[in-house]
């Protein structure tokens, strides 16, 4: 932290000295410089900051590596006397003690190791700090000596800026790569314990009974409790209910707003629908669990049906409400993209407005509407909070919407929340589920976007 502040201070000083130096070299008339004084300033600024930052990253990595290797060398006798996980805990505890933290079971060895690490760390800190500041100063003097009126510092600075721009746009790609690799990496570890076939096509899901530990029966037991079919079925059931609500309401609302409503009504109605889209999902979850689920249960009792208090119907209904604005705004775009000439032609033949919409506009907009619905399905499959709060945990394989079902996202949350152990088949299963979720939603999106694009070209 101190080093970072010192670096920023140095770089700022470098900026101002280099700027005034360039003006002084030009004899007070900045217009004789090749680059404006600001660029000379930034030139020095970058020369101070960037090499020093690079050195800092590398040097602190090396220091960390050196400390941990000399720790395990110095205390090799102690570490060898401990079993695998305990040795790891010993090193962790030494690190914690060194940084001033408290640990569960301190003993003499650990305290000695902690002091050893603390000594090394403070030495390493000063070494790294001196190195970084040294590099920064060297950068400053180099840049300062290079300043002259004809120096093309603007080009140099702009090159740095351009690389920074490229680096920023690569972050999005890195995120995707990070997602794909972390999901695949953990999933591969999971599929090392449970076969892909058992996971994708198994009928029984009860990860809490997964057997952890050594033994020939582990794999057999685990392949029987990690069958994800009930989760997929539950997800599909809830998504289906949600689409039964959202598709007709969203589509009809879009038609009404684009072809019937007056401009004034549309001006009010559209933002109101957007509010529905802006409500956080946790609020919908609260609504589903507190109001909708008990209400459905009550109605069920009145007409003599037993309704689970965590019924798929309640979660699906509320999820449908959440998706209405999504469907309506996407279909609105699509319906508006149908050329007016088609409508005029139909009206000229004597068709009523609804006939025009049903027989001309909707068929023309059909590919777009289908892809809007696909996007909505992908949204519903990935939705988490509503189902976590309102759907159940028991993996029932049923198509009865009055029973409790569970979904992929609910299971990811329950497998990972509150569990600190990251190596069990249970937590790895969450990543495998995440991979399935990612692939399905990605496929839906790619298909939907393709369709929309093709369709757009048709009328452009």
């Amino acid at each position: 932290m101190m080093v970072a502040l010192a670096l920023i201070a140095l770089a700022t000083i470098a900026y101002f000295t280099a700027r005034s130096r360039s003006v002084a070299l030009a004899g007070g008339d900045a217009s004789t410089l090749h680059s404006r004084p600001v660029y000379h300033g930034f030139y020095a600024f970058f020369w101070v900051l960037l090499p020093a930052l690079a050195i800092w990253l590398v040097a602190s990595r090396i220091a960390d590596w050196y400390i941990s290797s000399s720790l395990s060398e110095r205390f090799s006798a102690v570490i060898e006397s401990l079993s695998g996980p305990q040795a790891g805990a010993f090193i962790n505890d030494a690190m914690t003690l060194a940084s001033g933290g408290r640990i569960g079971f301190p003993d003499d060895d650990k305290i000695a190791a902690g002091e050893f690490v603390a000594g090394l760390q403070s030495a390493a800190f000063w070494l790294v700090a001196a190195l970084v500041i040294g590099v920064a100063l060297a950068g400053f003097f180099y840049a300062y000596s290079r300043i002259e009126p004809r120096k093309r510092t603007r080009q140099a600075v702009e090159r740095v800026v351009r690389y920074a721009l490229i680096a920023c746009s690569v972050v999005a790609v890195l995120t995707t790569i990070g997602i794909v690799f972390s999901l695949i990496f953990e999933s591969v570890r999971f599929f090392g314990r449970v076969s892909v076939f058992d996971f994708l096509f198994g009928y029984h899901w009860s990860p809490q009974s997964a057997f952890e530990g050594a033994g020939a029966s582990t794999a057999d037991d685990n392949s029987r409790v990690f069958g994800a079919i009930p989760l997929f079925a539950g997800t599909l059931l809830i998504t289906f209910i949600a689409m039964c609500v959202a598709a007709p309401i969203g589509l009809m609302a879009a038609i009404y707003l684009s072809d019937y409503a007056s401009a004034g009504f549309r001006k009010i109605a559209k933002p109101v629908l957007e509010i529905l889209a802006g409500v956080p999902t946790v609020v919908y979850g609260f609504f589903a669990a507190l109001t909708v689920a008990p209400a459905i249960r009550g109605w069920g009792e009145v007409i003599g049906l037993t309704v689970s208090s965590e019924s798929a119907l309640a979660a699906g209904l509320v999820m449908g409400i959440m998706i209405i604005p999504f469907v309506s705004s996407l279909s609105d775009d699509v319906i508006n993209a149908v050329p007016q000439s088609l409508r005029d032609g139909s009206a000229g033949l004597g068709a009523t407005k609804s006939e025009t919409i049903r027989k001309v506009v909707l068929p023309a907009a059909l590919p777009g509407i289908v892809s809007a619905l696909l996007l909505a399905v992908s949204r519903a499959i990935g939705e988490t909070m509503i189902v976590v709060m309102a759907a159940g945990l028991a993996a029932n394989l049923t198509i009865n919407p009055l029973e409790a079902v569970t979904t992929v996202t609910v299971q990811i949350v329950t497998l990972l929340v509150g569990d600190q152990e990251f190596d069990s088949a249970k937590t790895l299963a969450a990543f495998a589920l995440g991979l399935v979720l990612f692939i399905i939603t990605l496929a839906l999106n790619v298909v939907a976007l393709r369709v929309v694009q093709k369709y757009k070209e048709q009328y452009d």
């Binding site: 721009l165 972390s182 109101v272 956080p280 609020v283 976590v388 990605l442």
Partner: protein, 433 residues
């Protein structure tokens, strides 16, 4: 004269049947038209109805939570061990219990005493300690301190307990109700604005639980998100819109960003768990990691909005700047970017509003911590407002149900404020070229 005037020459004899049939068909068609129109209106109104139902449920549940019933408790601060120095750590339990019993001098048996204690919040000693620590000159005197009643007594006082139910089916017994009624008759109960709710962190007791911890957590998390996603998003948008050559790599980046915008938020949580926590070993439950995950999640939104804003700046601006000798970078940073700024800010604020309401990815990285202390740094364990709502919604007490609704109202107020700022920015600074 384009009106299709009926031609009387055709309308003879057999044609009348045809006309009658035509008019019934027309009537049917018009009826279908009206029906269709009605369905459309019904769909819009249904959506409105859902929104109204949602908001009224939340607000209806939230209103009771904004006030609380406090009892005027006469506390004798005369314990000789109590000094101004140790007031902040002093154990006020005995003092408070004595004060509570002093309100009911005729009760002396054990069960009665427990009953008396039961109508006050179990957090009373903490409240008294806070008051005394803030006013150390009270020590040695007798002070009337308003303290919260228990949550069941509070619900009863607000009329939210059905007293017609048999005693076994409600949380407050007849004897407790009698004690509370006695306090009301003596004018010792006062309904005040619920300050505890706005100043405390999490608690297992509904009357002591507040949203301050979650608010600070949300603020810290959102600051990290903003610091990361705004500059990275804007710079990426500038590159893609102004500099990127049209080739396969930039096409790939574009497709990538569009797909990233549609990845379920929980997958970002898994990414954070695997990369930031397991691989890079950042602290669990920290706003730092939460902010980073949310930044990655909002990045596509910011990039897409910023690109749209940059695209809306007309090329003539760029050509003019280039024409008088500005470099391309100067053109963008001195001329295009300032003009695109309102649009970029609007997009960023909307992205931030989305991040503020996000819950699922934060559950993955352990921000479900039960944090009593208020977080002070981005590496402290913390929770955020939506996660706090999720946690409270799980508690069975009715008191927590109201807290949940109240926290939702606060969250919605923040979201409305952010969106209002975005709308205002758009209307204030938007330029039509």
């Amino acid at each position: 004269m384009t009106d299709p005037a009926p031609n009387p020459a055709i309308a003879v004899g057999a044609a009348t049947d045809d006309r009658a049939a035509r008019s019934t068909r027309t009537r049917k068609r018009f009826a279908a038209e009206r029906r269709f129109r009605f369905y459309g209106l019904a769909a819009v109104l249904t959506a409105f109805g859902f929104l109204i139902l949602l908001l009224s449920t939340v607000i209806g549940n939230a209103i009771p939570a904004f006030t609380y019933n406090y009892a005027q408790l006469p506390v004798e601060l005369t314990n000789e061990k109590l000094t101004p120095e140790n007031a902040a750590e002093f154990d006020f339990r005995k003092t408070v219990h004595a004060a509570q019993l002093s309100l009911f001098p005729d009760i002396s048996d054990r069960a009665g005493r427990r009953l008396v204690r039961g109508i006050f919040s179990s957090g009373t000693p903490i409240v008294v300690r806070g008051e005394v620590a803030a006013n150390t000159d009270w020590i040695g005197t007798r002070q009337i301190i308003p303290v919260p009643v228990s949550d069941d007594a509070d619900l009863y006082l607000k009329g939210l307990v059905d007293t017609d139910l048999p005693e076994s089916q409600r949380n407050i017994s007849d004897a407790e109700i009698a004690l509370v009624d006695q306090l009301v008759e003596r004018g010792l109960i006062e309904r005040q604005f619920n300050t505890i709710f706005f100043t405390n962190g999490a608690s297992r007791e509904p009357e002591m639980a507040g949203i301050m911890g979650a608010l600070i957590g949300s603020l810290l998390t959102l600051s990290i998100t903003l610091l990361l996603s705004a500059p990275i998003g804007v710079l990426a948008a500038i590159y893609l819109e102004e500099f990127a050559p049209k080739n396969r790599l930039t096409d790939f980046i574009e497709v990538n960003i569009n797909n990233l915008a549609a990845v379920p938020s929980i997958v970002f949580g898994l990414l954070g768990l695997a990369v930031f926590l397991n691989f890079m070993e950042f602290p669990r439950s920290a706003p730092l990691v939460g902010g980073m995950v949310l930044a990655l999640m909002t990045l596509p939104t910011v990039i897409i909005a910023s690109r749209a804003a940059l695209r809306a700046v007309p090329p003539s601006i760029r050509e003019a700047a280039l024409g008088i000798g500005a470099s391309r970078i100067q053109t963008v940073f001195h001329h295009v970017l300032p003009l695109a700024m309102p649009g970029i800010l609007t997009g960023t604020i909307i992205g931030m509003a989305g991040a503020l309401g996000e819950t699922a990815p934060l559950l993955m990285i352990g921000m479900v911590a039960f944090v009593v202390d208020l977080p002070a740094a981005v590496t402290d364990p913390a929770t955020v407002l939506p996660v706090q709502i999720y946690m409270w919604a799980d508690f069975p007490e009715i008191g927590f149900q109201q807290k949940t609704a109240a926290a939702i109202v606060i969250l919605l107020l923040f979201l409305i404020a952010m969106n209002a700022i975005a709308v205002w920015l758009r209307s204030r600074f938007e330029r039509r070229w």
